[in-house]
Symmetry: C2
Subunit: 606 residues, 2 copies
């Protein structure tokens, strides 16, 4: 904290505004008589020593039965974040037996994928799920070929919450909180009383194995049974035994989760061995590791005053101006000059460490008035249009696909993000409902599938805002359509530590909305083209029938002519004068569509 | 951790199951040839020193571009819970300007109500919201007449996350995490750079005022500018300045929140002064403080093995048997005998500290086989049928009200809970939609309104499961109906620290479901009764018209008789033979309804 403004002896509002008459009707605005002016002026400190009265005389009789402050605060305690999540394990996604198992798989596999991506390794991930029949436990084994965890970090990486390599970096990854793996360890402990077992090798010829638990009181790792042996294994293997989980093959189960993971990570090879011994392989479809995520600089739009203060006070730059150009995306010397004009009272040569809150606030305000180049897509690693099309084609074999990729935007904190939206129609698209088939929405954040908590998610909210009527898709809820939504961001604003829903930030909803509208328009165009095709086909059939009949009848009616010749002539006439009627249209450009529409209208007028 | 089972040198699955052929089609179950038996046997430690191979040879060429483990883990950091919530402020409910302001009011007011309840004080709460025009900030003032915070705890109570009087207690309160108020302090800091200002008096003649901030790096409180002066004020006043918030009067704004709070807390008097200076008073409707919440003992159903281990190892009892009877609800000596029979190998005379995980697991299993008395309602403080009816009547002035209160149940952890559900029809019930009026669902948890995140909430999920057709309420989405749902629990399983949605625990959904079905049945009965009444009324009119006409015509047709007398006789006949037709029915008992139905069927047959 840099600037704390004292503001002592505030006035009691309860004394300023007279106690409301007991007879007054509930919720009616009271008489505006004792109009309350701002009771707490900003920086003055009016002495309010006007004999404060006991606040609630009328209740004095009742009070004696209750506890007083001393009694109540004798219960005051501090708690560790591990205790908090133990008590609120549902916040980590541990609620419901099937969901809990999926959460475990989710946490381990996203860590695997992140680690492989950062080390530029094509991921090979093995997941094995066994039932332990004697005690209803489930044993989960997850092995990767990632970079491994160096010995000194093994304990903290899986045995201490809020620690890790990702939280503080402005970098696009699936994990970002440093809670996931330790949360799984905690879940093993509280359901089976057992630590998790870790094997780690960094490829230097030594392999480490040990048991790790979280000390829930202190949120510190407890490492035991460490063994060290020579070996070439590189990667991390985690084996844990869990209860209150259940393996099945439902929509929210690990297999569906991994299928969705494969859909968004075609470069990963994922092998699952399920409790029956069946082996399911999600093959690598694409032999290239996505580029390593690049740490981003924040974009001035969306930087908060607090961010600016934090960055500047930790800066080693000598001048505010060079601090700005070197710490933020898109701030050039020319832009600094613009900022100077907008903030004439601020000295841009001062040390960034000396930036005051009010000054920072003024600069942030000025940021919003300057015209900026949009944030660079550099730190963002979208799946890409081609990859999404390929994945949707492989998995859904649809009749029609469209993919929209929007340019990067920022949301609060200057966080760059972008959205990718795909639509697939027919084939295996859509989801089974009790009434048949319906719209399926597949949600992803940085390629990690979001299976749960669709309710309050920005993706779902943006889908809700679409007026499907406008796209001739009024009946979308009963159509074989899959929407594929991926948020790509250096920080995903999850609604909870369970990382299953994206907070409804306006900017994110807007972008999803536009992208969905784009693919909806594409589908509309395809469908109306298809209807026209069908209509043309029907018309062609009708006319051909008519030609045949006419050619047969004419000689008889006219008394002369040869059927075959007349048929030929008629077909020639139709083909040359009305050829457009038979044209096969698949997808029209907007202009063609306009022309076609005009044509149809003209036809109708005729 | 009591029992850590070493399990070293696990086998690599990647070596056991041959690498899948590159040509194999994605997602097809691979040949079951190398059937994977459980690869990680439970307690044996097979030496897997069989020369581990580097896991992913094919990728060796690619790896060099990436970071290795040492590089990656040079970024390893530990973070405080305050840093976590600063970065993920949306998890505390700080997303969106209006919602953020409502979250602030929510956190402070729930603390006020909890404190007053525990101290048995009738709450007088003052909320004042001012715009600070020069910098777009909002100044929030919240004053209560509660027990106050003793001086040594002021800093921690509002300046340290995960500390407080509520988290560890098995007691029904609105707050339960020890995050709320400190989260507000953090939000003031990161949006305006200012600490919050606190005044506290415990009624001992001294009043304290100071500024409090959270040191975000360490999650420790920073108290400054402490002043102490004599005064009789008892309670807590908090004044904070916040940015990125906005005052309006929309559906999700503070005023609606406080209105809903008043609905569920008729014993509280809440005065709001809004930025225009208007004063709105939610009058106390009920002059009695709810009983103090009573700490509960966990019910054996739903106790987990981990709970049992924790409780037993902290117990001072000498014997397992007396530990069980004295620490859990509903465990009598007779029940212990039953448990002994079910767990013959466990020595119930041993020290509870010596209980082993397997034994605890066996006891938990036995718990589920014993027949228990339902948990006591003692620790639960429902609003109560009468209070809910009164509140709904006051606020909605509906045509019909029904309230259902279900007996207590438990969910995981042996947490006792119960649900209260009210339904109101017509009057001001229902919510305005763009198409007219529709079903309104008002959600509460321990009397605190839940305005946000309805999507994934147990309340909403339970409403979704209802087949409204069965209750003749097919068109519920377009009816003027308000559903009032309150979860009463010693621990509310919120989906996130923002405390706006209840996790979809099966037991909770079931209870809400049953309660909603009950009130739906009541409404159905009322509505069909109403229709019958209308039909009867119409029939009566028709018959009376007929009687008049008949009485007038008969003398003419028959040539004798007097109209007035005939009319009188006819009416007498109808009244004595067919009186039931005219009976006014409002609500029938199930039996009456059955009889009425039979009667109607007989009528139809006639």
């Amino acid at each position: 904290m840099d600037k704390i403004e004292a503001e002592t002896k505030i006035e009691l509002i309860s004394e300023k505004i007279s106690a409301p008459a007991e007879a007054a009707k509930a919720k009616t605005p009271a008489t505006p008589a004792p109009t309350p002016k701002p009771a707490v002026p900003a920086k003055t400190a009016p002495v309010a020593q006007t004999k404060p009265q006991p606040a609630a005389k009328s209740t004095a009789g009742v009070e004696e039965k209750g506890s007083d402050a001393q009694e109540i605060f004798s219960e005051f305690r501090e708690h560790s974040v591990a205790e908090f999540f133990k008590k609120n394990r549902q916040m980590l996604g541990f609620s419901g037996k099937v969901r809990s198992l999926t959460t475990l798989v989710h946490e381990y596999v996203t860590n695997n994928l992140d680690a492989c991506e950062e080390a530029k390794i094509l991921p090979n991930i093995y997941v094995k799920i066994d039932n332990v029949p004697e005690n209803d436990h489930v044993r989960l084994y997850v092995e990767d070929n990632g970079p491994g965890i160096p010995k000194p970090f093994i304990g903290k990486a899986v045995g201490q919450m809020l620690s890790g390599t990702k939280f503080h970096r402005f970098i696009q990854q699936r994990g970002q909180q440093g809670i996931g793996a330790s949360g799984c360890t905690m879940f093993a402990q509280i359901t089976t009383g057992k630590p998790v077992h870790i094997r780690s090798g960094t490829g230097d010829g030594q392999v480490y194995e040990c048991d790790v638990a979280v000390n829930l009181k202190s949120n510190m790792p407890a490492v035991s049974n460490m063994v060290e042996y020579p070996g070439k294994y590189r990667g991390v293997t985690i084996v844990g035994e869990f209860a209150e989980v259940k393996y099945d093959r439902s929509e929210y189960a690990p297999l569906e989760y991994l299928k969705a993971t494969a859909l968004a990570n075609p470069h990963a090879q994922i092998t699952v061995v399920d409790p029956t011994g069946e082996r399911i392989v999600f093959q690598r479809a694409h032999d290239e590791v996505p580029d390593r995520p690049v740490p981003a600089q924040p974009h001035p739009l969306g930087v908060t005053t607090d961010d600016l203060i934090n960055y500047s006070h930790h800066s080693k730059e000598r001048k505010l101006s060079s601090f700005l150009t070197s710490n933020f995306a898109r701030i050039s010397d020319a832009k600094v000059d613009e900022l100077k004009t907008l903030c004439p009272t601020i000295n841009f040569d001062k040390m960034p460490k000396e930036l005051k809150w009010e000054e920072a606030e003024a600069i942030v305000k000025a940021f919003k008035q300057v015209k900026w180049i949009a944030p660079s897509a550099d730190p963002l690693r979208p799946i890409g249009k081609a990859q999404i099309e390929k994945a949707l084609k492989n998995v859904l074999e649809p009749e029609f696909i469209a993919v929209s990729e929007r340019p990067p935007k920022v949301f609060r904190g200057g966080v760059p993000f972008m959205v990718e939206v795909g639509i697939a129609y027919k084939g295996k698209a859509g989801r089974q409902t009790k009434d048949g088939i319906g719209l399926d929405v597949k949600r992803f954040a940085n390629r990690a599938p979001l299976l749960f908590d669709a309710g309050g998610c920005a993706t779902t909210e943006s889908v809700k805002t679409i007026d499907w009527n406008r796209y001739g898709l009024k009946d979308i809820d009963n159509m074989a359509v899959t929407l594929y939504l991926n948020l790509v961001s250096v920080h995903v604003p999850y609604t909870s530590a369970g990382k299953q829903a994206i907070s409804t930030e306006e900017e994110i909803i807007e972008e999803f909305r536009y992208a969905i509208m784009e693919v909806a328009r594409d589908l509309d165009r395809y469908l109306s083209g298809k209807i026209r095709d069908e209509q043309r086909e029907a018309r062609k059939k009708a006319i051909t029938r008519y030609v045949k009949q006419l050619a047969a009848d004419l000689p008889y009616l006219a008394g002369r002519g040869i059927t075959a010749e007349i048929e030929k002539k008629l077909l020639y006439l139709i083909e040359h004068k009305y050829s457009k009627i038979f044209e096969k249209t698949t997808r029209l450009t907007a202009d063609e569509e306009k022309a076609a529409k005009k044509e149809r209208e003209e036809e109708a007028e005729e």
